[in-house]
Amino acid sequence: MRSDRQNRTPMGLKIAAGVGLAFLHLPLLLIFLYAFTTEDKSYQFPPPGLTLKWFAVTWNRPDVWEALGLSVRVASISTAVALTLGTLCAAAISQTRFFGREAISLLVILPIALPGIITGISLRSAFNLAEIPFSFWTIVLGHATFCVVVVYNNAVARFRRLQGSLIEASMDLGADGFQTFRHVILPNIGTALLAGGMLAFALSFDEVIVTTFTAGQQATLPIWMLEELVRPRQRPVTNVVAMVVVLVTFLPILAAYYLTQDGDQISGQGK
């Protein structure tokens, strides 16, 4: 006689939860509709007509391609750096006990726990003090700093489930440390790293607050969008770009979800 059998959901709760989820999703659906609107001067609803014209216009815009290219390059390199640093940190934290362990895990979370504007302005003023000119690499430096935590969270969760006896068994059977890493540890943490990497990529691809402080004249895709939001010039093109960005970020999120589905959760907290 389990007591949690008779699960009848109260109607009010169902409605409230449904309305809440609709509140989360309807605005995003609206983006898809507006990408096809024929109206190019205002945000008129309902759209007076539907067209595919703006996709062609957007396709032929060099500034959009440039921004997209820069964003992809920044996100790739930041992800690579974050994967290396995050995995090293996670391995050290989860496999050993040492003095200052708590402080290090706090340090990893700090760039994302503090408001982005603080990370941004402190990096900017540090670049100014050190007289480092703004470039591609200053953007990467900022992005990698807050991407580490995503990889770290995913890797730590998986390391916790990786039994120490597996590693010891591998060593006992004659594998050296590198072989153990290659054949035992890596296959075990691989999917977690892939998921963490994808989330880091999505995070970097979308980042705008830190980037406004660490980028010089270059515009990543979010910076390009921000300009359009503050001073709208090309509404239809912005509509199309917004839709593409939604689609592009959904894919890694879905992939990361399926990769980490067995047991541990995607570390979505503290974006």
Binding site: D4, G20, L24, F45, P111, S122, V148, I209, Q269
Partner: protein, 319 residues
């Protein structure tokens, strides 16, 4: 050191040959060496570059700006903090904190049914759907979300259209005519800013809340009902106290994120400044880095107090 194992096949094997082999042996014998090597790169990056920058920023908040030349004077003084406490700057701080508080409360109210349904009633496929239903908006582009609201709140946008079709336009007009919350249109009113803040940070409230609610044993709720409590009493006296750590954990995100944001009020809102916008304005065109730095100390201090209170309420067990 030289153990000859060739003849006897003893218990201890010879050291491995080659660079990789001896490195591997060294790591096994001295785990501290491996630990040191593993921790150096991340610590150099986060500890030196990142913490260093934060510290440099903190120091600059104790510098001041020369009123005539506009140059930063590198002498320690509390003058900048005095400037921070001017009424106009205090207004900005109070406005931001009130907004953060309201956003947090509204997020908690909207998030609760979703989190409760997902934690207690959703099973199997529905559970996955709910999880993704929160995850996708959480991770989708921040700017696109703001842009969507620009489309919604515009005068000619969908919200105006719906109210027009229902012949309820007078409701919007009446609301916009109110002082404090109103404005020329929804997209340039504090109400608009509030709505967008709630929308963008809501998923950050749902996830920790759901995690906390999942740990509340169902039979406690049933026991409460069996003992004659109404659903409302069960909610107040059993469910809420048990779920409170999750609510506080979520509120840390919504509160902190609202405190530091400068893009949402800039795009959807009035010309009244929020802390983030003040920081941005002072470091940018005004070139007053010391005052900008002092402004960034405000959310850090507020969050420090908030976290300390949250820790006392046991919120970190729910993270």
């Amino acid at each position: 050191m030289s153990v000859s194992s060739s003849a006897s096949g003893g218990a201890i094997l010879a050291g491995r040959g080659g660079l990789g082999g001896s490195l591997s042996d060294a790591f096994w014998r001295k785990p501290q060496l491996l630990l040191f090597l593993m921790l150096t790169p991340p610590l150099l990056w986060l500890g030196v570059i990142y913490l260093g920058s934060l510290f440099a920023l903190l120091i600059q908040s104790f510098f001041s700006i020369d009123e005539f030349s506009g140059m930063v004077v590198r002498e320690f003084t509390l003058k900048t903090y005095g400037e921070l406490l001017r009424p106009s700057n205090l207004d900005i701080i109070v406005r931001t904190v009130i907004m953060a508080g309201l956003v947090t409360i509204a997020s908690a109210v909207i998030a609760f049914p979703i989190a409760y349904f997902a934690a207690r009633y959703a099973r199997g496929r529905w559970k996955a759907m709910f999880y993704l239903g929160v995850m996708l908006p959480l991770w989708s582009s921040y700017l696109v979300k703001i842009y969507a609201w620009k489309l919604i709140l515009a005068k000619e946008g969908i919200l105006g259209w719906v109210f027009d079709k229902l012949h309820l336009t007078f409701l919007i007009d009446g609301w916009l005519a109110l002082p404090i919350v109103g404005g020329n249109s929804l997209s340039v009113s504090p109400t608009g800013t509030f709505l967008v803040f709630v929308y963008v940070w809501l998923p950050f409230m749902i996830l920790p809340m759901q995690a906390a609610l999942e740990r509340v044993p169902t039979n406690l709720l049933e026991a409460s009902a069996d003992l004659g409590a109404s659903p409302g009493q069960t909610f107040r006296n059993v469910l809420l106290p048990l779920a409170l750590p999750g609510v506080i954990a979520g509120s840390i995100f919504t509160f902190s994120l609202t405190l530091g944001d400068y893009i949402i009020p800039q795009i959807i809102g009035t010309s009244h400044l929020f802390i983030g916008m003040a920081v941005y304005a002072h470091q940018g065109t005004a070139g007053n880095i010391p005052l900008a730095a002092a402004f960034t100390v405000v959310p850090v201090v507020i969050m420090g107090i908030y976290l300390w209170l949250a820790k006392r309420a046991g919120a970190f067990n729910a993270l």
